[in-house]
């Protein structure tokens, strides 16, 4: 499982060593372009990392850590009644505590928060980004749009995952930079993907979260190994899952795409005019569509067709 640059990955470490690092000086993982140091004494966090991050390379000693994160049980009286977990970013707690059993999911949400708040060298779009034959597709989407299901199915179909939640567009070269991570799927989508792909590996299932039932699909090793390979945005497609609908791909204007994309950009107001210029450049060079679907197989065929 060794990849380039002489890096060791998480899965190559003995289990005892992973556990030790988690409770001492931190398990230091490279997640896309971000060096993350994770500390946690919680067993389910260890399991989450072991199941879903084994292909991820470790950070070397002489590299700067971007995010120091910690997941620990809360120390209040509630610990004995309904135990909870706290997420902290270098000592700062951005969230209220969650039930202890959701610790693995909290790690993922916490990482989303870190990236969205501290990575303004990128324009960060709330979107799934996936690539095939040199074409990168951006699927911006609000919850319920079906973008994660579509993204997961494409990833299981040989497309390269760049991200399921956060499209990173460099302000310097307007390319999309990968941050391949476990894909979060909710409710019916979990079963849909399990049926679609026998090889799909899922982590823990979290019940009763704020978003319903949640589970994470392990990203392919290839996606993780190619995390340094950027891609140019070829298509911007706004997906909409609608039960019993036909598969319908409709071109939309670049102007309305720009506006909708700005609405879906985490750090649009922080970046000011640079954000506007970057989005303009990306939209100018991409084909833009709205996409309604209900049948996953047909949807994938349509996406494959767009690549030819």
């Amino acid at each position: 499982m060794k990849i380039k640059e002489g890096r060791v990955c998480v899965g190559e470490l003995p289990v005892a060593e992973i556990k030790k690092k988690l409770v001492t000086d931190g398990l230091r993982i490279k997640i896309g372009p971000f060096n993350t140091s994770l500390n946690s004494s919680i067993n389910s966090v260890f399991q989450h990392v072991k199941e879903l991050y084994s292909a991820f390379p470790l950070v070397k000693e002489d590299e700067i850590i971007d995010f120091y994160v910690r997941l620990e049980p809360t120390s209040s009286l509630r610990r004995w009644v309904r135990p909870q977990v706290n997420f902290s970013f270098d000592g700062y707690h951005p969230f209220l505590p969650l039930p202890l059993i959701q610790a693995g999911a909290m790690f993922e949400w916490g990482l989303n928060w870190c990236i969205a708040n501290y990575s303004h060298q990128y324009l960060i779009v709330h979107a799934a980004v996936i690539e095939y034959k040199g074409h990168a597709f951006i699927f911006p989407g609000s919850p319920g749009s079906g973008k994660s299901t579509l993204c997961a199915a494409l990833a299981e179909n040989g497309w390269r995952l760049l991200s399921d939640e956060m499209g990173l567009i460099s302000l310097l070269d307007y390319q999309l930079y990968p941050v391949p991570r476990p894909i979060s799927l909710k409710n019916e989508s979990i079963e849909v993907i399990q049926k679609y792909s026998r090889n799909a590996v899922f982590g823990q299932t979290f019940l009763d979260t704020a978003k319903g039932t949640l589970s994470h699909l392990r990203p392919s090793n290839e996606a993780v190994y190619q995390k340094d390979i950027s891609a140019k945005a070829s298509k911007i497609i706004f997906p909409k899952y609608k039960k019993n609908s036909n598969t319908d791909l409709k071109p939309i204007t670049k102007a309305s795409t720009l506006l909708q994309l700005a609405d879906n950009t985490f750090n649009y107001s922080v970046l000011g005019k640079t954000g506007f210029d970057t989005l303009t450049e990306v939209v100018d060079n991409a084909d833009c569509y709205e996409f309604t679907y209900s049948n996953l197989i047909e949807a994938i065929e349509k996406m494959d067709y767009l690549c030819d």
Partner: protein
Amino acid sequence: MINFEQPLITFLRSVNHNQTGQFVYNVEFTELLIRQARRANLLARVAFLLKELELFHKLPKKGRDHLQNALTVALANERSVNVEIREIYKLLSRQRVPIIILKGSAYIWASKSASKGRVFADVDIMVLKKDIDLAEKIFAQHGWLPSKAFDCYYQKYYRTWMHEIPPLKHKRRGTELDVHHTIIPPTSKLKPDPNEFWTEAQLISEFPGLMVLSSVDMILHSATHLFHEGEFDNGLRDISDLDLLLSETMENDADWEGLIKRAKKLGLCRPLFYALRYTSIFLKTPVPEKIIRKINCYSPGFLGERIMDCLMLRALMPNHSSCDDLWTGLARWLLYIRSHWLRMPLYLLVPHLLRKSWMRLTGKSLD
């Protein structure tokens, strides 16, 4: 034992004494500098200073990225403040309500050196006490709503005992606004005459009716805010602001004498004593010897100084695990209690703190 040999503190001290070239910006130093600065809300300032001193290129790439990102956020903050102040000015000037801009917003509008890399969560303004009700009405009519659902108790807390209407939030833009009518709660022991601030306020030329405090009053306000308001998450940031304001404003002996004279007039010598003491301890701000002797008359005495040092020297360190010792948590908590004690008489303080604890225990929180 407090250890001042931390990357953030040694860096800021070195800026004061032109010794920034001494550091090796390797991975270890750079990473800890960034972590401490981020927790102290000083990352943008450090970035600004490194650029100003042409040292930015010496840092490893990831370090440059984090520093640049902090500057990006600071610039966005500045744009936002400009929009807000213009909007607020448009609304209040129509009704001829004069405004003094306070704190961070004022540093930016008055182009003070303390504006360098300054980031802040809300806009603070002061109006005359007679205009406070009118101001509240105007804001309510133009999209400014209470930022949280305050019950009757907290409404009274803010209006009667503090010196502001409950914090407001703009429903569309999301920015937060605090409207004061003096700089310290009327219930506190210090009682500077608010009219004095208006008398010395500096006008902003293109905006009649819009003002900032005089440079000396900005220093005294910052000192009073820090040492009586009890918010130490931004403690070192406020020390840094004071350091920059002092360096910029105090050019000669006459300026220093003027500062002491003004502090005496406003009854703010004790906060000034603390300000000068802790800026010189933390950042080695150059304060003339004879000024130190003069302001020492307003010290809380030998025991008071030792106790305050014990608490302040911990609380003002960056709020980062690398700077904590065993007593840091306790020190911050004691200062929090103290700040309430300074603002409220005892008969109000105890029920207030009990109520806050109850809200927290039952899972409700106003924070």
